[in-house]
C-alpha cells in the first residue's frame, strides 16, 4: 500500500489541481465542492489512496463521477448518502458491494466527489481515472477503450431519484443526460463496475496524485483568490507575503522591445516550469486576448461553442482557441498546434491562476498550455473516441501527421 491518505487539509490542492485539468471548472467555480468535501472529511476522517495493483485482483471496483452542470451542482449540494444508494443498487444487481472506488475522471468536481464517496463508504480510493482530464460524455474513457462496460449504471439525483440503467454506453449516456436536466441539473453516477485486475490496462494510473501535485504547485504560486485586505488607515493592499514578486507579462520568450523591464526569472516562468515538470505541459504561446465570442460548431455535445483569439505580442502570432465547454483546439496562425484529447488550458498571467474563455475579457493576458494526454488516447481507437473528429472538427490530430 502507498500509505497515502487524503484529509481535509488536502482539499485546497485537490481543488486547484481539479481546476487545472478542466477549463469549465475554472469558469463556473467548484469551490462549493471543496467546502462540502472538507466538511465530509472532517466528519469521516481521511481516505486511503491506493494503487490499483495494490488491491486483490478480484476486488470489485466502481467508478464514481457526477454528470451535469457544475453551476447546478453549486445550487444543489449532495445530501451525503448518494454514494450509499449507488453502491446498494449496484450490489443488488451484482451480488456483492463494491470494495474500492475510483474516479470516472480526476478533474473538475469529479476529482472531489469520488473522494467523498470513498470517505462516506469507508472504502479505499484507487489512484487512477478514466480520462486524465474532462471529456463531455461519460463513455469517453480509457475504461471504455479497454472494453469495460459502462453499465450497469447506477444514477441518483440529490432528490434521491434512483435508477439503474442497463443498455449500451451511448444510450446510457443519452438517457442519463436527459434525466440530469429533469432532476435539477446533475446526477451522481456509479459505473464501470469490475475487478481490480481489469484496471491494470484500462485505467490511467496515478491520476489523483497528479492532481494533488499540480494543485500544490498552483497553491504555492497563487493562493486561492487574491483579496485586498482593508485596513483602517491604509488603502487596500496586498501583503508582501501573499504572493511572490511577479512579472505577469513574460513567458520566457525571446525578449521584446521592453526587455529591459523584465526580471530574469519571473514567477510565471517559475510556475510554468513547475507545471511542466509535473504534467509535461508545453507552452503554445501567450499574450493579450483579442476576441471572445460564439463560434461555429455542431450541437452534438452539451453546451455551446466559444472561440477565443489571443495575440502573442512578441512573436506576432494569432492563437485561436475553440472551446466546447472544454478547450478543444488551438490554431496558431491557422495551423493546428494542439488538439483534444490533449489538454489545452489557459493561465491568467496577472493572477497566476487558471482561466477560461467565459471568464476572460478582451485585454486580459494569458498563457496557453498544452498537456499531452495519456498515450492510449493517441492510438487510433483513442482518437476515434475523443480526438478532433469526435467533436465534429474535420481535422487530424498533430500526432497523426506522418502516420
Amino acid at each position: 500500500m502507498t500509505g497515502r491518505f487524503l484529509s481535509a487539509a488536502d482539499v485546497p490542492a485537490l481543488l486547484a489541481g481539479a481546476e487545472f485539468f478542466s477549463t469549465s471548472a475554472v469558469e463556473e467555480g467548484i469551490e462549493f465542492a471543496g467546502v462540502w468535501l472538507q466538511d465530509v472529511l472532517t466528519h469521516t476522517g481521511p481516505v486511503q489512496l491506493v494503487a490499483a495493483d495494490e488491491l486483490d485482483p478480484d476486488t470489485l471496483c466502481v467508478a464514481i463521477g457526477a454528470m451535469g452542470s457544475t453551476v447546478t451542482m453549486s445550487e444543489l449540494p449532495p445530501s451525503g448518502d448518494e454514494p450509499e444508494m449507488i453502491t446498494r443498487s449496484l450490489a443488488d444487481r451484482l451480488g456483492s458491494p463494491p470494495a474500492a472506488v475510483m474516479p470516472l475522471n480526476a478533474a473538475n468536481v469529479n476529482a472531489l466527489y469520488p473522494v467523498a464517496a470513498a470517505a462516506v463508504l469507508g472504502l479505499p480510493l484507487i489512484d487512477c481515472d478514466g480520462m486524465g482530464r474532462v471529456f463531455p460524455l461519460i463513455h469517453q474513457t480509457t475504461y471504455e477503450l479497454a472494453g469495460m462496460s459502462l453499465t450497469p449504471l447506477a444514477i441518483v439525483s440529490t432528490g434521491h431519484d434512483l435508477t439503474l440503467l442497463e443498455t449500451s454506453s451511448t444510450r446510457a449516456e443519452r438517457i442519463a443526460r436527459s434525466m440530469a436536466r429533469a432532476a435539477g441539473g446533475w446526477l451522481l453516477c456509479g459505473m464501470y463496475p469490475g475487478p481490480a485486475r481489469r484496471l491494470r490496462e484500462a485505467a490511467i494510473h496515478g491520476s489523483v496524485s497528479r492532481v494533488l501535485d499540480v494543485g500544490q504547485v498552483l497553491c504555492t504560486y497563487a493562493p486561492n483568490g487574491v483579496h485586498a485586505r482593508e485596513l483602517g488607515d491604509v488603502a487596500p493592499w496586498p501583503t508582501p507575503s501573499a504572493t511572490p514578486t511577479r512579472d505577469p507579462a513574460s513567458d520566457g520568450r525571446p525578449p521584446g522591445p521592453h526587455a529591459a523591464h523584465r526580471l530574469t526569472t519571473t514567477p510565471i516562468e517559475r510556475l510554468l516550469r513547475a507545471l511542466s515538470e509535473v504534467t509535461g505541459a508545453e507552452l503554445v504561446g501567450g499574450g493579450r486576448v483579442m476576441e471572445v465570442g460564439p463560434s461555429v460548431g455542431q450541437a452534438v455535445y452539451p453546451g455551446n461553442p466559444i472561440g477565443t483569439v489571443v495575440h502573442d505580442q512578441d512573436s506576432g502570432h494569432l492563437i485561436r482557441l475553440e472551446a466546447y465547454t472544454e478547450l478543444l483546439l488551438a490554431l496558431t496562425d491557422g495551423a493546428l498546434t494542439a488538439a483534444v484529447p490533449d489538454l489545452i488550458c489557459m493561465l491568467d498571467r496577472g493572477a497566476l491562476r487558471m482561466t477560461g474563455p467565459e471568464r476572460l475579457t478582451v485585454g486580459d493576458q494569458v498563457s496557453v498550455l498544452r498537456v499531452p494526454a495519456a498515450p492510449v488516447w493517441h492510438t487510433a481507437p483513442g482518437l476515434a473516441l475523443a480526438g478532433p473528429r469526435a467533436f465534429g472538427y474535420p481535422l487530424r490530430h498533430p500526432c497523426e501527421e506522418g502516420r
Partner: protein, 461 residues
Amino acid sequence: MNGRGRIGVRLTGSHARAALITDAKIRQAECRADDNRELSRILRDLARGTSVQSITWDVSAELDPARFGTPVGTLRITPRLPAHDLGSGHPSPLLRPLVRWQAAVTGGHDLFGVQLSPMDTEEVLRSAASACEEGMSTLAVTATGAPGSPDHELAAAELIRTVHPQVRISLSHQVGGLGMVDRGAATVINAALLSTAERIVERCAALVSQFGPHTSVWFMAGDGGRISAERLRMLPVLGLSATSAAALIGAAALAGVDDALVGLAGPDGFAVGHVRDGLPRVTTDLPGPGGVRMAVPQASLTPITGSPTDSASAFALLAEHDQYPGVIAVASAAPDGSSPHGDDRDRHDRYKAALERARAAAGQLPSLSVLVEPPADLAAVGAASTEPSAWLDTVLYAETPEELARKRAVVEQRALTLVAESGARLGSEHVIDSRALSLSFLPSGAYRLTVRAGGRVEVNT
C-alpha cells in the same frame, strides 16, 4: 454658492476621511470617526459655499463581520436533509461563531424554477419556534434554487413572521448570486450585520440631514456602485469590500478617464484593477471577509509586490499591453503636518514609500499614462464620484435565440430599473455588460446570464 458638488466619506474604523469634489476643485477633511460633532463640523466646513448634491459613505471598515457581527440562526431549505450532518458545516472560522443555531427543512427548486420538493411548512414553524427558544432574534434563510424561484424563501419568511413577528429575517435570493454555499454564507454575514448596518445608516443619515432635503445620502457598494440607505439597511453585505472599488473609481476620476488599467500604489506594492465605463471590473468568485466566498460582486485586484523597481517594471509591462491608458495612483492622501511623529510618522513614511513606488512606475509607463497624486483620500474621492449601477446574475432556459433575447431583455430591464432607483438621471441608464454563457454539460439552451448596468446622476462632476 460656488456651484454644486458631491462629498465622499470613508470611515476607516479610526478616522473619517472626507472629500468634496466640484467642477472646479477637490477639498479634503479628516477627523476621528467616533466624534459625531466633529464629523458634522468638518462636513459643514467642507461644503461651505457649495450646494452639496449627495454624500456617499464607504462604511465597509465598519461592517467587519468578525468585529461587528452578531450571532444568528440559519434555516436551509433543500430537497433532502443532510445525512449524518454531512456537508452542513462551513469550514470558515469566521462563520462558525456567527452561526449559533441551524436547522434544515425539505423544499427547494432547481435553478430553472422547477420545484424539487414541496416545502415542509410544519417543520419550518417547528424550527422557528426552536430558534426563538434558543434566543435567536435573526434568521438567515437559504433555499436551494432561490435565484430561480424565491417562492419557498418567501413562504418560509411569511410563516415565521406571522408567528414570530419580532424575528428579523435575511433571505438569500435578496442577497443574490449563484451557489448555495456561497450565497448561504453571504446571507449569514448579511443577517449578522443587520443591527450594525441599522446603526450606521441612522448615524450617516442624521449627519447628512443637516444639509437639507436636497442633499441625498448614499453608500458605496463592493461592486463600485452606490446603494440607498434602505438597501444598505436590508443588505449590508453589499457594502463590504467597497474601499477597493472606491479607490479604483477615485483613481480613474482624478485621471479624467472612464476606462483605465489602474495601479494603486502602496508602500508594499501595487494593487492592479481595471475600470470600464467608470466602474471597476468585478467578479463574484473572490474571497470576502475571513476568506469566505459570498457570490456577491467585488472589485477584482491583483497584487504586484516586490521592490519598487521590480513592481514598477511589472506594472509597466501590463500597461504596455493594455488597450486603455495606465493610471498610477498613490493610494492615500498626503498626511497633514510638517513634523510628523508617532502614528502620523508611520503614516507619513508609508505615504512616502507609496509615492516613490508610484513615481518609479510612472517613469516607465507609455506616454498616455497618468500619475495621480490625490489631493484627498482616494477612496473618499471614489465614493463622491461613484455612479449608480446594478449587477444581476441569474440562470435561464431558452430553446431559441429569440426566446433568449426576450428573456435577456427582461433581466436587462430589471437591472436598468435598479439603476434608476439608485438615483440615475432619467435616460442615462444603460447596459454596460450583458453576457449569456452556456452552462456546461447541459443540453443547449441553459444559460447563465450576468448583466451590469450603470447610469449617471444629475450633475456631472
